[in-house]
Symmetry: D2
Amino acid sequence: MNTYIKEHIEKFQEVNKNRGRLLVSCSDQPGIVSAVSHFLFSYQANIIESSQYSTNPEGGVFFIRIEFECPDLKEKAKDMEKQFANIAEKFSMEWKLSHVYLVKRAAIFVSKEPHCLLELLWEWQSGDLMAEIALVISNHEDARDAVEGLNIPFYYIPANKDIRKQAEAQQLQLLTEHEIDFVILARYMQILTPDFVAANPNKIINIHHSFLPAFVGAKPYERAHARGVKLIGATSHYVTNDLDEGPIIEQDIARVNHHDDVDSLKKIGRRIERSVLARAVKWHIEDRIIVHQNKTIVF
Amino acid sequence: MNTYIKEHIEKFQEVNKNRGRLLVSCSDQPGIVSAVSHFLFSYQANIIESSQYSTNPEGGVFFIRIEFECPDLKEKAKDMEKQFANIAEKFSMEWKLSHVYLVKRAAIFVSKEPHCLLELLWEWQSGDLMAEIALVISNHEDARDAVEGLNIPFYYIPANKDIRKQAEAQQLQLLTEHEIDFVILARYMQILTPDFVAANPNKIINIHHSFLPAFVGAKPYERAHARGVKLIGATSHYVTNDLDEGPIIEQDIARVNHHDDVDSLKKIGRRIERSVLARAVKWHIEDRIIVHQNKTIVF
Amino acid sequence: MNTYIKEHIEKFQEVNKNRGRLLVSCSDQPGIVSAVSHFLFSYQANIIESSQYSTNPEGGVFFIRIEFECPDLKEKAKDMEKQFANIAEKFSMEWKLSHVYLVKRAAIFVSKEPHCLLELLWEWQSGDLMAEIALVISNHEDARDAVEGLNIPFYYIPANKDIRKQAEAQQLQLLTEHEIDFVILARYMQILTPDFVAANPNKIINIHHSFLPAFVGAKPYERAHARGVKLIGATSHYVTNDLDEGPIIEQDIARVNHHDDVDSLKKIGRRIERSVLARAVKWHIEDRIIVHQNKTIVF
Amino acid sequence: MNTYIKEHIEKFQEVNKNRGRLLVSCSDQPGIVSAVSHFLFSYQANIIESSQYSTNPEGGVFFIRIEFECPDLKEKAKDMEKQFANIAEKFSMEWKLSHVYLVKRAAIFVSKEPHCLLELLWEWQSGDLMAEIALVISNHEDARDAVEGLNIPFYYIPANKDIRKQAEAQQLQLLTEHEIDFVILARYMQILTPDFVAANPNKIINIHHSFLPAFVGAKPYERAHARGVKLIGATSHYVTNDLDEGPIIEQDIARVNHHDDVDSLKKIGRRIERSVLARAVKWHIEDRIIVHQNKTIVF
């Protein structure tokens, strides 16, 4: 990693050494917020940001994300985890306590088109995307220079449907070796096998080049052009085994008109894809996304 | 019609008494613009606005819309039509010469939900929608007061799939009696028969409450909610016999999130539907729309 | 009030009879959320929605808005107020406990241009704006029919700078008689005196027809046209005694181009003004807006 | 220049070897389009795209931009220029005939913040910005690596108000040596002298980090934050000697809220600045912009 990116990250870790996040979901009922906030207060934690949502106050599912500042978090963390388990048991909660200074480690997969990869690298260099980009994997050599120029390891792994299993075996091994927390498909044009997806639930973020559920599948810009739509879009979603049917994280659109041919739609679309994927990745890194019944709650 | 709306229209007609529009399409080739503009100049017409588009300069189809100011247009109109026919023959043109002071006559069809109808009536009252709203037809009585309060004839014609033919016979007769130029389906929730559609090619404007081609058919807001999209939309299109597959005129979207239930999506959607339909109607009235191969060119 | 609007409101009140809102601000410190949520839990209240913000976790000001469902709220309300006062004292809180079934009473002021008034009336009729529109005051007669047609009292009070004091005396008396909670200036083109404003702090919502702080003052569309901007906007804000300098609640914009003359800008602008004001009013009604140092926090 | 960018440009030049653009302005009167289109037809030129605008059909100024395909344009160009001069004289036209294969040569000026420069370089590498970036000039060394990595000459010229004259002398000499057609100020934080500006009329494109005319001058994000606006923006304009008062080419905005501090506004703003400047540069390169009375017509 380049020195100045390392400095970005180290500064971020210092600033956030006492910053924690608590994500909880359980059956909605009175007393949840009271119990959770009392718990945090008992550790002198100050709640900095809090968002909650209930599918239905009567018998629905309740979700909360709390970001807090807690003196000596590192030292207290283990004990907090242990103590919170008691509360969680009482309310039958699913929960996660995360420490902001533990920066997430990402792998980026890319094929030939570099625009989404370049956007992420730029955000990363400028300190706007606070993750460790641990490696880039591609089935083409095109992006090698741009990636290695930033001292990020680049792995060329040929892939097509005939050699999918071998390719994925290599990929999974690299993810393990590099202790990857999540995978970004930055216009990676290969389908992943159910095994690969199952090994990374809600940990693979894809960018699809259409406004889903319109134009599921291949060649969305060509089909958007044929249909004569007046807006085109892009969609970032978690990957599941139903093609382009995973939980949607973010979408955006741009206006087009009859002058725009397919190439022009692609050019306009690249700008949307870049920003939609960058926002989705940012929210994932900040633990803002909860998946529930194939939909996302973005806090 | 109310006196002040009548005044709006009369003033518009006076201002536009010499204003004409020429729409032309033909095989692309050098010399078209030269011939058309020379023709207009020979009548002392001044070109006020001109837009053109070619599907492909080599062997494609060429489209042009010209708005012009021509002294004594009323007197010259007949002769212009006759003379232009010669040019049109030479280039094998499809064409239409229209006179702006001949305000188009519209029929609005509506079912229970009044928001799109009300939007059109408001735009009309404020002079922003320059058509004669000749009548409103509904399969419910709900809108009668709002419509008759503006001295517009209101016809209640019950409709459902069992009595479709009789209902359409009545409707078509009314369209003829009132010399209707085009029909606006302002959330009219009945399917039209192929006969009705065939009788009004590219003359029926619908508003669909989704971002087509996503959620073709019934209950789009329910399905948008189920899919967890982050944007919802509305689409205005000409009606063809393929349900929701007609040429798209205009689309727009609004951002939503996990807090929005189906009712909330409908509420947000109503605002989009209103403005999308109003824009589509305005462009139709101004002869800005050309349909080509199930797509629209909007000049 | 019309019967069906009355029914809308009565249904809303029934649905929300146990729904309360608590707004709090105080110096940021650990323990606030814990104390407030414990208080609510002690009344069996279930937190439905909660939003918070701190200007600075270390020594800043903390704001929270909680919407809750509390069985038998009507009966408990008085006791809750009393008990919460103790907590409030401990943390030096400013606070407000409101009951959603007590629908707010609004007065709308309008001059000649009716579009913002009509938008509010339409949202009101369709049940999207849950307030009692108790009266409309205008310095012109134009809107009388539209208002009285909905059985809303309409008062014509001539106003100009020479008779401002008398006019405002009449207006203030009407506000008192009708027990008005807040005032909406729906394109009311008269300046209010400092006395009038002082009598209604953060209770007068204005719509300004520009993207503030651009084009403060008169004739913003004319000045936008002269400057050649590519976007025009509208701004809704609370009225203070600094002209167009009050806390901004909401803003929006639309794209324009060189074809748009001043009339066209006004036409486009009317659509923005309508929706921006409607959103601001909705947020005010739902107690979502907190004013702090001439800025708004919109929860 | 890198080989692959050179290939992009050479391919573009080959495709556009017969493509021309004609820009004309003169007093509005009948016969202009007829004369111009007849002229083009006489050279067998086919009009591909045509846009026109009149400030007022009666006595106003008329503008037209025509893009055409003309066989053997290179050979005919000189003669066309000569012949068109006759038409131009008759109508007292200002006009420009340009050849698309003559790719424009740009100089980019930048200070410390690299995001706008990087955006332009990316668009350039991907073939979306069809100009020759002949050199980059900066008053800081930061961007040297990124620029020289693409084989673009980088010149470090220190600049501040005390040495402005010397700095500009060096800059102007470089512009001459490199035969620069236009200058892009990609967040160049130095004021240019009237002499520098006068030497490059409508040839210097700036990006201002606010929604002009709001927040003219320094520190716009800080002032936007202080005012509590709900939208922030960026503006690209030609540089004149009135600070931030030059003709606006393009603007865009993004939504912000009370959570966004000044740093967050800057981060969001960078994305707007990048895309607004890129669009303005693209339109300039394509000869789409005409300046008239300190406003732009963008065709």
